[in-house]
């Protein structure tokens, strides 16, 4: 087995373990390359089926093409898609683009808070009706205790301290220093009521692995990652006001694989286009302790 086959088998194993052990399971789908690979691996693990709902937190500031792509794939693959949003903050204009918050505060409000309350079912959420292809407000909102996330260890420092199955307490807080051991494909699948577990099937994948796998499997990927004439492309996707492009002529998957293999971005972090990471030094670790994915 080559590296991609090994990574694939391990991720599939983790996904099946999550499905076996968690009654109320959900997968976060950010529309980006990592969580789209995760979605593809889910279809691998379950032989074409996606046996749990997907959740997207729509900040209201996402690059518009992302929403269009999301809805198209969801309808094509018959996905059970749930969408959550911090509508209160948006209506009150308590955001960074409105000038009311810093970037990190805005992330916390529109992503961390929205996610927490959407997962717990406290806030209203919309769900795609597979019969009509339209979103409907959910009448009864299940609280999810297992959350599958596409985080990769090489992406950013704090993520390398993650376990494959990582417990969060009631406040979604993460105790980095005192995590249970994980060995021999045995994970933390038991948890006290009121806590939830995040599951990271992509922990061992690198950015290059992701693109090589997209190439090998011909996974449909949002074209925002490609240069479409301007000599720039997105390397990491987020909200329009806080996500920058990188200079790159890569206009298809093969180009990106080649670009990464040759080490063009050797000295540039993958998330360097994400402005919130720079704002307060260890921005992302601070956000992650508070529940950011």
């Amino acid at each position: 087995m080559d590296t991609l086959e090994r990574l694939e088998a391990h991720s599939v194993h983790i996904l099946r373990e999550a499905y076996r052990e968690f009654k109320s399971l959900v997968m976060l789908w950010s529309i980006g390359k990592d969580s789209t690979v995760l979605l593809w691996l889910t279809r691998k693990a379950f032989f074409g089926h996606v046996p749990f709902p997907l959740m997207h937190i729509d900040t209201g500031f996402k690059i518009p093409e992302m929403i269009a792509y999301r809805d198209r794939i969801a309808r094509e693959w018959g996905l059970d898609l749930i969408v959550g949003q911090n509508t209160a903050a948006l209506e009150a204009k308590q955001t960074f683009p409105d000038g009311a918050l810093t970037r990190v505060e805005c992330c916390k409000a529109l992503k961390s808070e929205a996610l927490k309350h959407t997962l717990s079912g406290e806030w209203p959420r919309r769900r795609l009706n597979p019969a009509t292809g339209e979103f409907e407000w959910e009448a009864t909102r299940e609280a999810f205790s297992g959350v599958i996330v596409g985080a990769r260890a090489d992406e950013e420092g704090s993520r390398s301290k993650e376990r494959y199955f990582s417990a969060r307490d009631r406040q979604s807080e993460w105790d980095v220093g005192d995590q249970p051991p994980e060995l021999w494909k045995q994970y933390k699948t038991d948890f006290a009521p009121g806590t939830h577990v995040r599951i990271h099937p992509l922990l061992d994948w690198t950015e290059l692995n992701i693109w090589e796998y997209i190439e090998r499997e011909s996974i449909p990927i949002i074209p925002l990652y490609f240069d479409r004439g301007g000599g720039t492309r997105y390397r990491s996707l987020g909200c329009l006001p806080c996500t920058g492009c990188v200079k790159s002529p890569a206009c298809n998957v093969a180009d990106i694989v080649e670009e990464l293999r040759t080490g063009r971005f050797a000295n540039v972090a993958e998330r360097s286009g994400r402005a919130q990471d720079q704002e307060d030094g260890g921005g992302l670790e601070t956000l992650r302790r508070g529940g950011y994915m």
């Binding site: 087995m1 080559d2 590296t3 991609l4 086959e5 090994r6 088998a9 599939v12 194993h13 099946r16 373990e17 499905y19 076996r20 009654k23 279809r43 691998k44 693990a45 379950f46 032989f47 074409g48 089926h49 046996p51 018959g78 260890a153 090489d154 950013e156 420092g157 704090s158 390398s160 301290k161 376990r163 005192d178 995590q179 249970p180 051991p181 994980e182 060995l183 021999w184 045995q186 933390k188 038991d190 948890f191 006290a192 690198t206 950015e207 290059l208 692995n209 090589e212 499997e217 990464l260 293999r261 080490g263 971005f265 050797a266 000295n267 540039v268 972090a269 360097s272 030094g281 260890g282």
Partner: protein, 603 residues
């Protein structure tokens, strides 16, 4: 070259750095990165300059600290791992903290590695965690260990001292069955024998550290061993017309082909592999260790997640309810007798109890502490464990990976362990429990025979089992009605009726506890002279055996309605689920008559 972005053609190897706190792991890592050319340009000089300005002696450990904040500089370093590459391949270096408080992290890191570098301070020699880490590596099954005797510059590159440490640690590891691939005299600070052979150690002719890591071998998946598939799940997704019933799991060892005859353990059910399924590819002919495909079978048999699929004709796993295991306990509370824990072994999940502590090993001295009744945090213990039903496993000496287990306490993995042997048991803890219960039971002044005379029939516990299709349930209710109509004291209670009452405190996955309570309830009701009837879906032979034992000293009669247990000696009668219920009940009546529960029976 960029350490973050390997090509997939390129090999990747994970190495764990272990050793006692302050023995210089960070220095060795820092030096290794410098020598492997993995640092951003000018970074080393910059840190040296900072040290000079602050009048601090330069240390490579500072370099690591400085790099931790530098994700944007293209190198990933953090408390846990760093990436670098040599001309041969890419490496992930996993740093295992040397402090005992971080043993859980050390174990997590080491279990992800394929080789280990264990650092010993030449001046301090072998210390507590040097030994403990050695023990952990052995238990985790890491066989490629290279020992770096560090800080050689502080002992004048003394060969005698190096040889003394080598002899002592070799002897220690020898007890654990580890033969280190090399002992290397190094100085992280001076760079001796890291990348280049040091002129200070002309007496040393082994590899440098960089040569050694390039010589480590990548773990291959053991295809030549017997086939072992822990059944992780069985899927029957019906969406979009999918009618496949798929057995899934990640193959631990061996290979399999479509058409191979298979046996499931511990149930003993047999079938044949019809197809090997994967998503977006046509079905395949073969699958091998490391892969995670799905299997369809030629026959419809009821398989539970947690069983093992093995090939007929190959050596099977052992099955037992008692086994001897070595455990390393990390739990907050000690492991004690009488408490129920959760066992995870392969895909198996089972309640488990500590029966006996045979020996507690002081991991640092490898000496035995006698007479301990419990297993404390950081103890290594050889003990006897018991599960209520047989579990299947390989002995770690036969097949290493399928003899590994963990134990869960307080929702967390509290122990890692390896199975040493199956244990024949004279009396299970269940039998002990029943014996103790009956001794404590205050007998009624009315003898069972007197009661039977008064009621016109004897007492009995009648259990109908079968798939969850309602047939067993329908038969059970029909029997209650038929017996009642004859004037007998018969009473039906199904498991679901207990859910919000007797079993209200039990969680969803507490099936074994619910069965136990049902058995206790049966003991009470049969003691009252009644014919107590119940139905159980998906019951296996062990469930029926356990119910029979709990109902002791009263009698049980088990009726299978379409169940597929291949060898259920506990089953007294088998009925066709599609057959006429009245005719089936008449057969149960015949049996009750034959057993002298009822004297006459006509429907």
């Amino acid at each position: 070259m960029n350490p973050m972005n390997p090509t997939t053609d390129e090999q990747q190897l994970s190495i764990v750095m272990a050793g006692h706190v302050d023995h210089g792991k960070s220095t060795v890592i820092g030096r290794l990165l410098v020598e492997a050319g993995a640092l951003p340009q000018g970074r080393l000089e910059q840190v040296r300059e900072t040290c000079r300005r602050n009048s601090k002696p330069f240390e490579y450990a500072f370099l690591l600290d400085a790099l931790k904040d530098e994700q944007s500089q293209g190198i990933t370093i953090d408390a846990a791992r760093c990436f670098f590459r040599t001309a041969k391949r890419r490496y992930i270096l996993i740093d295992a903290p040397g402090h005992i408080e971080f043993l859980k992290n050390m174990i997590t890191g080491a279990s992800r590695a394929e080789a280990a570098l264990l650092v010993i301070d030449a001046k301090e020699g072998i210390r507590e965690n040097t030994k403990r880490h050695g023990y952990m590596l052995s238990m985790l099954g890491l066989r490629q260990v290279s020992v770096l005797v560090n800080k050689m510059d502080l002992v004048g590159y003394d060969e005698t001292g190096f040889r003394r440490i080598r002899a002592e640690y070799e002897a220690f590891l020898g007890h654990l069955g580890i033969r280190p691939v090399s002992f290397i005299p190094v100085s992280g600070m001076q760079g001796a024998n890291i990348a280049a052979r040091s002129p200070e150690t002309p007496w040393y002719d082994g590899p440098t550290v960089l040569e050694q890591i390039d010589a480590f071998q990548r773990r291959e998946f053991p295809e030549s061993l017997p086939f072992r598939l822990p059944v992780q799940d069985v899927y029957k997704f019906t969406a979009r017309g999918d009618d496949r019933r798929i057995v899934t799991g990640t193959i631990e060892t061996g290979t399999i082909r479509a058409g191979d005859a298979v046996v499931f353990q511990p149930s003993g059910k047999t079938s044949t592999v019809k197809s090997i399924e994967v998503f977006n590819r046509p079905p395949r002919d073969t699958a091998a260790a490391g892969e995670a495909p799905g299997f369809t079978l030629t026959t419809q048999i009821y398989i539970r997640p947690g069983e093992w699929m093995v090939k007929a004709g190959e050596p099977p796993l052992k099955t037992a309810t008692r086994f001897r295991a070595n455990l390393f306990w990390m739990g907050r509370d000690p492991m004690v007798r009488g408490k129920t824990y959760k066992l995870k072994l392969g895909a198996t999940r089972s309640p488990v109890k500590l029966v006996e502590v045979l020996a507690v090993l002081d991991a640092t001295e490898l000496s035995t502490v006698a007479g301990k009744q419990q297993v404390d945090r950081h103890d290594v213990a050889e003990c006897v464990l018991e599960t209520p039903k047989p579990v299947a496993f390989d002995l770690v000496t036969d097949l290493e990976t399928t003899g590994r287990l963990v134990i869960v306490d307080h929702h967390e993995i509290a122990a890692a362990g390896i199975v040493l042997a199956a244990v024949e048991s004279a009396e299970s803890t269940l039998q002990e429990h029943v014996r103790a219960r009956e001794i404590a039971w205050k007998p009624s002044a009315i003898a069972a025979a007197e009661r039977a005379r008064a009621y016109g029939h004897g007492a009995k516990f009648v259990v109908f089992s079968g798939p969850a299709d309602g047939a067993a349930d329908a038969h059970a209710r029909a029997l209650e009605q038929a017996l009642f109509d004859r004037g007998f004291k018969a009473y039906y209670v199904g498991m679901e009726s207990l859910e919000r009452g007797l079993d209200a405190d039990l969680g969803e996955d507490a099936r074994d506890d619910r069965i136990r309570r049902l058995g206790e309830l049966a003991r009470i009701l049969t003691g009252s002279g009644q014919i107590f009837i119940t139905s159980l879906s998906g019951a296996d032979a062990d469930d029926l055996r356990i119910l029979g034992q709990l109902n002791h000293p009263n009698e049980i009669l088990t009726v299978s309605v379409g169940g597929d247990e291949p060898s259920a000696p506990a089953t007294s009668l088998r009925l066709d689920p599609a057959g006429d219920i009245g005719a089936g009940i008449a057969r149960v009546g015949e049996l009750l008559k034959a057993r002298h529960v009822i004297l006459d029976y006509v429907i």
